[in-house]
Amino acid sequence: MASAEASSVTIKVEFSGGLELLFSNQRSHTLTLPAAVPTDNATTVPVSSTTEATKPADITYLIHYLRDHLLKERAELFEENGTVRPGILVLINDTDWELEGEGDYVVKEGDEVVFISTLHGG
């Protein structure tokens, strides 16, 4: 259930296809993100909504957050130019993120986001 003021959003993130190796070998993570985040996707600076430009937390912010806070090694295998590396598929609530607006999708309470790597071929 969302908090009364919706100051944060709790989502579930899963990794598959070998990506979990980059995230402490843990497939499933539960994250709490701020509901409003900086427009430049900075993940280390506390958001002050009165002075900084903010936006609702979206998938692009989530990718930056994962890179900055959960990724243990080889960031270039996960993120490239502000989005996931080609070959990594993203599912938002079991739906291809291309149908949900890709990085612009605003995460909601209880969403499940899955990152699947296809980089080990046939």
Binding site: S16, G17, G18, P86, G87, L89, L91, D94, T95, D96, L99, V114, I116, T118, L119, H120, G121, G122
Partner: protein, 556 residues
């Protein structure tokens, strides 16, 4: 009339209503769609082609009974495609384990319980499509990849998941190792002919474009693993290493399948991987084999045994494979990228300096890696072009047939007169008169023209070069313009099937040992064939390549 195309990516204000019933990612549509595509690709190849009346348009089934002439072997790389392939094959043609998830193919739901296909399933039988017990064959490559973990047991567990103890149905698991390619013991288990005594220690000198066969003398590797490391570390470029590993795996799978009287060898190459392999292969000179085989390959082993190499996922993209694996909860063992550099001795026994050098050289890129990155990026932004690459291959053909028996190393079709073609299109030596006159600068790793050596004047009749395809010959002899390749004094060992195919003249004791070539070169040069090169006129060049030029439209 609206002039808007309705595409919101080009027009911000365009409204494109999402019709959820057309979402391919909806699982209710997705599984039957993929399953149908899979069976439509594999179905028409099952029966012996002589009796095949063609594919039924519905689900790829042909009219009448599906009956393969032999057994089934599935090649498993540990990757995503192989995992999905195994799942699709098991669910479509064999008894489905209660531990696996997913939906039955749509066609089966329309069949009655007494239909032979459903009845055979219930009894835990294979449905009698293929003879004998199906098998999955996995080739472990971790022994040549620094830091890689062995995945044989993970793949074994994935195969075992399709067993059903209540009916006794099982899929056989055949674990192999890459070094088996140099193991006489493995060769005997797959029914290979005994190696002649004189062939056992034969190798080749890859510094000579004719690839003369030599005895390895005192440098003969003691174990198959050592032979593998010597073989791969002697190759001139990272691209050659990747190509060699792929060829070894392919032939290991072929001979293993042949030993089981298989009529079909299935590989989990998805549409995306197929496109990568095509671009990469053609860039390395393997276009003839790809084009002549089209999208269907056949390999003829001993006793005219015919094995069809089928890629049933060739119409399924890597993205769709990933969704299938995710929604079916399939564990994917994973697959490491092939190394760009290999130690000359087995891992763990190399010197610290060698270990550092090998690790540093892993950063070197290869045609395969570049192609993979390119195709992955292409699929993301322009997904239809990936399928276009695969479909284009089906439209082209070769002007001539391959030589009998194909390439002795990769067992693929080989075009005739490879050496003559190479001689007419490339500079063969920096001592070439035409090259010297052109005053073209030498590559950066040469400060002065290298010694002519024996290569400019030798053409032993027992060389391997005439029996290779263009791609394999290039694998052995290419030289990177960046000078990465190092001169190699080691005689390179050969895979067992190559040794077994060498003619009986290989027992001739006059086959030189490697040291003879290094010390007795002057006499050899004096008696060997002499090559003469000269610059050709435009007219004579056109005569030579005219057979490959397209006819002008007006000439028809």
């Amino acid at each position: 009339m609206s002039t808007s195309c309705g595409n919101p990516e080009t027009e911000q204000d365009a409204l494109m209503t999402r019709r959820t019933k057309f979402d391919k990612t909806k699982t209710s549509c997705f599984f039957p769609l993929i399953s149908t595509r899979f069976r439509k690709t594999l179905g028409p190849t099952i029966n012996n082609k002589r009796g095949n009346k063609g594919a039924n348009a519905r689900g790829g089934r042909i009219k009448g009974l599906m009956q393969a002439p032999g057994s089934l072997v599935i090649g498993h790389s540990g990757g995503l495609g192989s995992t999905v392939l195994l799942d699709l094959v098991a669910k479509s043609y064999f008894y489905r384990s209660s531990t696996s998830s997913g939906q039955l193919p749509e066609d089966s739901l329309s069949l009655g319980s007494e239909h032979p296909r459903n009845r055979a399933r219930g009894e835990g039988d294979s449905g009698d499509v293929w003879k004998g017990t199906p098998a999955v064959c996995y080739v472990e490559v971790a022994s040549v990849i620094p830091g890689a973990k062995e995945r044989t047991e993970e793949v074994r567990a994935a195969v075992k998941a399709y067993s059903d103890p209540t009916t006794g149905f099982e899929i056989d698991f055949i674990p192999l190792r890459l070094e088996d390619a140099f193991d006489e013991g493995w060769w005997k288990t797959v029914g290979g002919t005994d190696l002649k005594q004189g062939a056992r220690d034969l190798g080749i000198d890859i510094n000579d474009e004719a690839l003369p066969t030599l005895r390895q003398g005192s440098n003969i590797p003691t174990t198959p693993l050592q032979s593998l490391h010597t073989y791969l570390s002697s190759l001139p470029t990272p691209t050659a290493i990747h190509s060699a590993i792929s060829s070894l795996i392919r032939v290991l799978l072929l001979f293993t399948a042949a030993s089981r009287d298989a009529s079909h060898l299935l590989l989990g190459t998805s549409l995306t991987s197929l496109s990568m392999n095509m671009i990469s292969g053609i860039a390395q000179g393997a276009g003839f084999a790809m084009v002549s085989e089209g999208l269907e390959e056949a390999w003829i082993g001993k006793n005219d045994q015919n094995i069809s190499i089928v890629r049933p996922l060739r119409d399924i993209g890597i993205k769709e494979s990933a969704f299938w694996a995710w929604w079916s909860n399939l564990p994917v063992p994973g697959r490491d990228r092939y190394p760009s550099s290999v130690s000359s001795v087995p891992l763990g026994s190399e010197t610290a300096a060698s270990r550092v050098a090998v690790k540093q050289n892993q950063k070197l890129t290869s045609i395969d890696v570049l192609t993979q990155d390119f195709i992955m990026g292409l699929e993301k932004d322009f997904p239809s072009t990936v399928s276009t690459i695969a479909r284009t291959l089906a439209k082209v053909t070769t002007k001539e047939k391959g030589v009998s028996g194909g390439c002795v190393v990769c067992q693929k079709p080989a075009q005739p007169d490879v050496q003559a073609w190479k001689a007419s299109i490339s500079i063969r030596s920096y001592h070439d008169e035409a090259f010297v006159k052109s005053k073209h600068p030498l590559p950066p790793h040469f400060t002065s023209p290298p010694d002519a050596g024996v290569s400019a004047a030798s053409s032993p009749t027992n060389g391997l070069a005439p029996r290779l395809c263009y791609s394999c010959h290039t694998t052995f002899t290419s030289r990177s313009s960046r000078g990465i390749a190092s001169a190699n004094e080691v005689v390179v060992p050969l895979p067992v099937w190559v040794k077994a195919s060498l003619p009986s003249s290989s027992e001739d004791t006059t086959v030189p040992e490697s040291k003879d070539l290094q010390t007795g070169s002057n006499e050899d040069v004096a008696q060997a064939e002499v090559w003469e090169t000269k610059k050709l006129s435009r007219g004579s060049i056109k005569d030579k390549i005219g057979a490959f030029l397209l006819d002008d439209a007006g000439d028809e």
